[in-house]
Symmetry: C2
Subunit: 565 residues, 2 copies
Amino acid sequence: MSEITLGRYFFERLHQLKVDTIFGLPGDFNLSLLDKVYEIDGMRWAGNANELNAGYAADGYARIKGIAAVVSTFGVGELSLTNAIAGSFAEHCAILNIVGLPSVNAQAKQLLLHHTLGNGDFTVFHRMFKNISQTSAFIADINTAPQEIDRCIRDAYIYQRPVYVGLPSNLVDLMVPASLLETPLDLSLKPNDPDAQDEVIETVERIIKDAKNPVILVDACASRHNCKGEVAQLVDATQFPVFTTPMGKSGVNESHPRFGGVYVGSLSRPDVKEAVESADLILSIGALLSDFNTGSFSYAYKTKNVVEFHSDYTKIRQATFPGVQMKEALNKLLKTVKSAVNPSYVPSPVPQQKLINSPAEPETPLTQEYLWTKVSSWFKEGDIIITETGTSAFGIVQSRFPNNTIGISQVLWGSIGYTVGATLGAAMAAQEIDPKKRVILFVGDGSLQLTVQEISTLCKWECNNTYLYVLNNDGYTIERLIHGQNASYNDIQPWNNLQLLPLFNAKDYECIRVATVGELNDLFDKKDFSISDKIRMIEVMLARMDAPANLVAQAKLSEMTNAQS
Amino acid sequence: MSEITLGRYFFERLHQLKVDTIFGLPGDFNLSLLDKVYEIDGMRWAGNANELNAGYAADGYARIKGIAAVVSTFGVGELSLTNAIAGSFAEHCAILNIVGLPSVNAQAKQLLLHHTLGNGDFTVFHRMFKNISQTSAFIADINTAPQEIDRCIRDAYIYQRPVYVGLPSNLVDLMVPASLLETPLDLSLKPNDPDAQDEVIETVERIIKDAKNPVILVDACASRHNCKGEVAQLVDATQFPVFTTPMGKSGVNESHPRFGGVYVGSLSRPDVKEAVESADLILSIGALLSDFNTGSFSYAYKTKNVVEFHSDYTKIRQATFPGVQMKEALNKLLKTVKSAVNPSYVPSPVPQQKLINSPAEPETPLTQEYLWTKVSSWFKEGDIIITETGTSAFGIVQSRFPNNTIGISQVLWGSIGYTVGATLGAAMAAQEIDPKKRVILFVGDGSLQLTVQEISTLCKWECNNTYLYVLNNDGYTIERLIHGQNASYNDIQPWNNLQLLPLFNAKDYECIRVATVGELNDLFDKKDFSISDKIRMIEVMLARMDAPANLVAQAKLSEMTNAQS
């Protein structure tokens, strides 16, 4: 096989990176391309229910496997992906956004094809996507196509951002040399400038030596740019207390004796707030300091000794070192950091979280507070835990994750409905890694409605590793807290949610409703329930205005920000 | 009330144009704006299930009422609308695309807010939308805001295209003079240049005088730019045979003795093809000559005497008259056209359509051919008939519409799933015009899955004027015809579709399945069934590869276009 089709080349390259599920929908400009998915052993076509969900699924898959791909068709397909792709851009996920284009000839003739704006402009959607892509390729020449594909895959992976690749329908069947596949993709980071890096390490070590009360603060990009290992080593080497942001949650082992909790500025637990803000050095890793991630920018450090490690630069106090990437810099630092710690440093005790609910009568109606505390004891090692923007993303901050948990929550972009698609992506990734790995979704009844049909794809693939907790509080509680508590625009049409799995023809499934403390306790006490052998939907009935305390406080800050003139 | 809020001002202006339903979803940057909807008597907030569906609904509403509005929130909300807005742009629908933005202050400070890309760029989504909008406003100054709003509404209406309006959350509560509302919006078209128009009329009349065998061909923009009345008068005055394109269907009264059928190039019925192509003059009105609208560009006129009337220009043979708009030009022409027709012109007989099925045993499985013929006799005056891209949009071409029917089909843009949202918009518009008006949807089981949750909004508003025909052929039959007949990417997860209405808590509803000729005939024979007093879902079981003959032919042409190198 000295030559293969361009379409196959693309998927073989992805397969080399263990991308074994391709998300998306068929459309008349990508059908020939999709044929090639089936030529590759171990690769599958997810076949999503709509494109937005497919994009969310790719994002969820990428958060588990490091990179993902979604295929759509020109115009009508790709535009339904914009919200998902923008979210992956904001939150650093590597997505190959592959679009089947009309043939080169049809484009050149400016034919008034269906799926166009009717004005002969075939590059308009590509132009739109450039705004939310790390890079892009609008392929028109078979000779340079393999290199262009390699460049795009590489950039998506390195920068952990979406990349747009337009593939004309007539090119996917043209042949390219198969031997190109023998040279592995170069996914290595560009080395840091040695002088700049040396200066960074030297300065950081000097500050560390002077620190009496330092902390490590871990944020989202530590996970997304594959630095969880470095973080863990840094904690072990220094014994500094380690905290995460909401978005960084699951970036460190929360059972580690040096784990202190989740820092969210003024919305933090008082002991966590005190511990972080009284530090005389903060080693910040992979920060993405958005409003919801910081309690509306309410950080109140008392120190100027902040070192920020980022994927593309390092900042020490006010000095920026462009291009000093954290992966290499942290590894360099790890070689000597232990000896840099002042011998007189005494690891201080870290804040401890209350993880047991106060006793309550079984018939007590469930509250968010009870739920998030209780669920911590049900989580187990290896779980993938997904929380939707709304009460769930705030509530999860109050829970504790076992070791090797992966948390997924779209704290910065915050598009409601995201998690239903992301759950599919994570569940399919889990099937490929370890079919027993549990994928646990917490989604509100309002958010569920936006993307509900992707549960059908979970059923199709028999993702029997999923738990779908639907927090039913009769509408958009997070918005009610921000504005319009009694406004009907925050209401939704009530659904009979427990009818969803049978509607979608789920094979092995279970539907459960819990409304009281006793029902929840009984559920978690059942041994069978913890074994992931079917798709489960658990509808959790909650009062309309019940919400985690940190969300109530955040909502007040948000309305103030919105009303600012 | 000498002053009103800017938010209220916007909705009052829309209310003046009889926009009484506002589509969209709440989000933290538009909540204060939404409060204002409730201040206006007779205006309602639809509250859609997701933004894409809301955009489709606005499009459907605009096709009935001439203009519509959809409200979303910054970033996450608006980006989910892009596909719908691009469709409204391609197909000429007037949509106010209103986006709630972060406050002016938050933008100026480049705060790393949620719903941003995390890079401080607050204009990026506006820039993306400019590509698919007639015009836009990114409002930042309360003093010029009312004029900007007026300009945007005006341009949307005049050009029948979407317009983007960004409204910062802090501005919607600022006051503007109420007296501004007393000056009605100027929605008049700019007058045509009199000299150019006179030359057009004179030339057209000269060609008409010479014509022995002329025809009128009506396309989508005749309806969209409000020229159905002019078309009807032109047919009456000249007695020329009149045809429509697929996209122009319902632009003329199909019961009119001079109506000859639907012309789709080589995919037309032979008698229609012959009648149009042998004409020695074609008066084309509002043409949008896309592939699916022309049988893949297979027009084969034998005449060079083609006169094209467009919303923004006129073309006579090879001569273009920029700025000569059809509305005024047709009205001018109508004053004298009767006398311009050659006295020796004898109105030739027009092609007649077979509208009765061949007799079949009751247990005969239903076919598309039987359905589309049979359903013609069930349609009645005033119906709104909506057909999804796929077998329905092709099948409907074989049906006949009663007078005053409105047909909705997205032939150019062709985004599957569009019709479920559009049905909601049309049904809510119908409630406002005439609650007895029936809204009849034909959608495939594949397309339904993309946007199914909008049926929930139909249930919420008790749109008991709707008939939802789900053509169940077990997947994407249109794609199977184009490519990959047995490819699993054209399969879908089968759903128990008749469980949808109870899932969504429909109040008055009926669920019916028909699979045979006899069952369909019995259904249409029931008098009760024709009375629109509940939401009905009728699942029509069809064979996987059964399709209207014109679609089978189109699919062959499409695959050829795709494969062109």
